[in-house]
């Protein structure tokens, strides 16, 4: 009997395997999910469980936190920095930013009145001051102290005004409090690293509060009764984030209706997800870009600009974009994407041209002297290892195409896959020759970390090991430009220089795909790491 059951079971699975994919019946959507179709509850399939909900401590995306803890500003769907708990974004023009003669600057934040923490305590400038002091205190270990460590002191002339005194110019000052503030009345005098009451259920001012965190399973957020934006908001009363690490399982739950929404799913699942009834695939161009980093230190051949230009000419990016990426991701020509105010569209481009690539390599002295199909020079073969992160089907395919296209111009590349943490270690120590990966830039692009000559590891992320005086001068000048127009102009010039030197091979912009219920209104997505929940208070389910 047992064996017969098993045989039937096997047959059943085989049948579904063959007929699967398109055969998603609607009957499944009602099964085992009495909550499906609810207008007051949204179930999100989430790929990982957060480490902590303290926005300053976590090292993963803050999608869940955004619904609870609000920043003084946020970045919207157009990547503009917009005020949230602040009344406005301070700028030079509106007098919110004042450059001091001693080389420092003062930034004045005016807070929105009538905002209270969820426990009823008013949100004030004292919280802003406390946040700066807590982060700069050696007793607390946040993920990053970037920017905060340049603030010498904070004045709070009244409960709604905080004046930050910076020791030096800090151009991305507007994003200083994008992660919000820490509640002084809860955390003052405490060891924040181990304040698990706060870290697991932070007190915020946002539309939701953490109602339950079941380890390994889910985090449940419930709407707060008196959200400052007004009565009735948010419309969706419960947000349930279910942790489903396995991508196939996450999408199966979407098919069965057990989850309503999956954010940032992989591109190779696009067709499968788009075919699910009642689910809309929302796509937005992000501020990240996939590229090949050419490590000039580990692979001296890359130090020759002709070799780098040749490799860029050798890659048919349009083909990759239209085939493997199914047109989902646009070809890009540099580190700053069109969605950014700092984007410069007029940079040098290296269209697909194998003949030109071959000529450049010949000119650089790399010729196939022994007829083995691989170019060589002074006994060295033009051969390198291209590392990339395992587990991304699309990326693994792209790596193979690159390998083939390099081979067509007589360059040998071996593809090597590593897990996420291992590859971080490799690049951070510069122990690789070429790497296929992406950088996700914040809404205010800081290129210094990636391209300044004194920012090679361990001092930064210049893992191309490019050492160019002109470029270094430009990126540092941009860091000191507080005016948006001036900053955009200098960053534009820096992008020209990066393209001229063909420092890395830019491939395509990173498009973010979110699967949302068709009946969800108000969803816009977000190009930055702020994530798609940035305007969750305005969402409704029909």
């Amino acid at each position: 009997m047992t064996e017969r059951t098993l045989v039937i079971l096997l047959l059943a699975t085989a049948v579904t395997a063959c007929g699967g994919g398109s055969g998603t019946s609607t009957s499944g959507r009602s099964a085992a999910t009495s909550e499906s179709g609810s207008t007051s509850r949204l179930v999100v399939g989430y790929d990982r469980e957060p480490d902590t909900l303290n926005r300053f401590s976590t090292h993963i995306l803050e999608d869940i936190e955004t619904c609870v803890v609000e920043g003084l500003v946020t970045t919207d769907q157009a990547m503009d920095i917009v005020p949230l708990l602040a009344a406005s974004v301070p700028t030079l023009e509106n007098g919110g930013v004042v450059l001091r003669k001693d080389g420092g600057m003062d930034v004045t934040w005016t807070l929105r009145p009538d905002v209270a923490w969820h426990d009823g305590t008013p949100h004030t400038s004292a919280d802003v001051k406390f946040t700066v002091e807590a982060i700069n205190s050696p007793a607390y270990n946040p993920e990053s102290t970037d920017g905060f460590d340049r603030i010498s002191s904070v004045d709070t002339p009244d409960p709604l005004t905080a004046v930050l005194h910076y020791k030096e110019i800090y151009a991305p000052y507007a994003l200083q409090f994008v992660r919000g503030t820490l509640p002084k009345h809860v955390l003052e005098g405490r060891d924040i690293d181990s304040a698990n009451d706060y870290n697991r259920a932070p007190l915020g001012t946002g539309p939701y509060r953490v109602a339950e965190w079941k380890s390994g399973e889910y985090i449940r957020l419930e709407a707060v009764p008196n959200y400052w934006r007004g009565a009735g908001l948010p419309a969706i009363k419960t947000l349930l984030f279910k942790f489903i690490a396995n991508t196939n399982t996450r999408i199966n739950q979407l098919k069965s209706g057990e989850v309503d929404m999956v954010v940032m799913f992989p591109w190779d699942k696009q067709r499968e997800v788009a075919a699910i009834p009642g689910v809309t695939v929302h796509s937005i161009n992000g501020n990240g870009y996939e590229h090949v980093t050419l490590n000039q230190r580990a692979m001296p051949a890359f130090a020759d600009v002709r070799v780098r230009r040749a490799l860029t000419h050798a890659v048919d990016r349009a083909l990759i974009s239209t085939t493997i990426l199914e047109g989902l991701a646009p070809v890009t020509h540099g580190p700053v994407q069109p969605v950014s105010w700092a984007h410069n569209p007029n940079v040098a481009q290296y269209p697909f041209n194998p003949t030109r690539a071959a000529a450049l390599l010949d000119e650089a002295g790399w010729r196939d002297s022994n007829g083995d199909g691989v170019r060589d020079k002074a006994g060295q073969r033009l051969s390198f290892t291209l590392i990339t992160q395992a587990g991304f089907a699309v990326r693994e395919n792209v790596a193979q195409v690159l390998q083939g296209q390099f081979k067509d111009v007589g360059v040998e590349a071996f593809v090597q896959l590593h897990d996420g943490t291992s590859i971080s270690k490799l690049w951070f120590e510069g122990k690789f020759q070429a790497m296929l990966h992406w950088w996700q830039l914040p809404a205010d692009p800081e290129l210094t970390l990636f391209f300044a000559k004194d920012r090679m590891p361990p001092r930064g992320r210049n893992i191309n090991y490019v050492s160019d005086d002109a470029l270094t001068a430009l990126v540092y000048a941009a860091d000191r430009a507080v005016s948006r127009t001036e900053r955009a102009r200098i960053l534009g010039e820096a992008q020209m220089r990066i393209a001229e030197l063909a420092i890395e091979i830019p491939l395509y912009g990173v498009t973010k795909l979110d699967a949302v219920p068709a009946r969800l209104k108000g969803f816009t997505g977000n190009p930055t790491n702020t994530g798609p929940f940035w305007n969750v208070h305005a969402w409704t389910l029909e």
Partner: protein
């Protein structure tokens, strides 16, 4: 009892050795708890240095190991590098789910594997035996993740009878069993298949033994021969295999838990490995080692009890 005491004493140096090897191996895995922070460009080298000091990773390796060992033996398992909570709590909160899955799959595997093995052995070389063998071969060779996903497609998405994954610990009775059904079946399938093969081989061997022929000559009927003479002798080695397999389930059914989003220790292990959460990983490796050692011991004791020849 002498056997048990002796084996327990032997286990101490073994576990010590395992802890040393595990600690060294974790150091050899490229990347550490600090590298996970690198995905954020705002995390600068000075931040990494600060975090390294905060986690005590700037100390010499031997010092890290000795201080971990001393604390661990005293029952202080330390704090998770990932979320800062006590390691003991993180593992303990996952145990109920693991034990539930482990218990259900063991029961299912025994219920399916033992009868299948007996039927196959008794009907040796018949069509029935061959069919059972075919299914068993499938059970041993089908990848768990594939079977899991196929079951989801069939029963959750196709028929809509069962929830595709998750545990829903707050639901009750039948609903709870619905969540358990597929992961337990997947896990049980491979074990039932393997165990039925062991039992079949063991039974066929015993059926050919002279004492079975002697019993038959004495006029003992087929049923009595099987239950009184054959099974006790054939089950002893299978019992050992079952217990050893059960011990290996303790570290968590890593793949099954991942496919079914089951919140047991297996998924915690994967998460901890990805984040290089050394303290959680070390504690889990030690708990698993203790489980393997004690189930081994239990298997030996049971084997000795079932078959007195082993003890002497």
């Amino acid at each position: 009892m002498g056997l048990a005491a002796r084996r327990t004493a032997e286990a101490v140096p073994l576990l010590l050795l395992v802890s040393g090897i595990a600690f060294a191996l974790l150091q050899f895995v490229p990347g550490g708890p600090i590298e996970v922070y690198l995905s954020n460009p705002g995390v600068r080298p000075e931040d990494l240095e600060r975090l390294r000091r905060a986690l005590g990773l700037d100390r010499p390796l031997w010092e890290q190991y000795v201080s971990w060992l001393v604390a661990f033996v005293r029952g202080d398992w330390g704090f998770s590098f990932s979320d800062g909570r006590p390691v003991f709590d993180r593992i303990a909160e996952r145990l109920p789910a693991s034990i539930e899955l482990l218990g259900a799959s063991l029961a299912l595997a025994l219920a399916a594997g033992i009868p299948a093995g007996i039927v196959a052995a008794v009907t040796h070389r018949s069509m029935l035996d061959r069919s059972i063998s075919a299914v068993a071969a499938a059970g041993v060779s089908i990848p768990t993740f594939w079977l899991g996903l196929m079951l989801q497609l069939t029963f959750a998405i196709g028929f809509g009878w069962l929830p595709s994954s998750g545990r829903a610990a707050d639901s009750e009775g039948l609903a709870r069993l619905q969540y358990l059904a597929m992961p337990a079946t997947v896990l049980a399938f491979a074990h039932a298949a393997a165990w039925s093969r062991y039992l079949r081989a063991s039974l066929i061997g015993v059926l050919r033994a002279p004492f079975v022929a002697a019993a038959r000559a004495r006029g003992v009927g087929p049923r009595a021969r099987l239950t009184r003479h054959v099974l006790p002798n054939a089950l002893a080695p299978v019992a050992s295999v079952v217990l050893l397999d059960a011990a290996l389930l303790v570290p968590g059914a890593v793949v099954t838990e991942s496919v079914f989003a089951w919140p047991g220790v297996g998924s915690l292990f994967i998460e901890a490995l990805g984040r290089r959460d050394y303290t959680v990983l070390m504690a889990m490796l030690m708990v698993s080692s203790v489980a393997v050692v004690s189930f081994n011991l239990l298997a030996d004791v049971l084997h000795a009890w079932l078959d007195p020849r082993v003890a002497s």
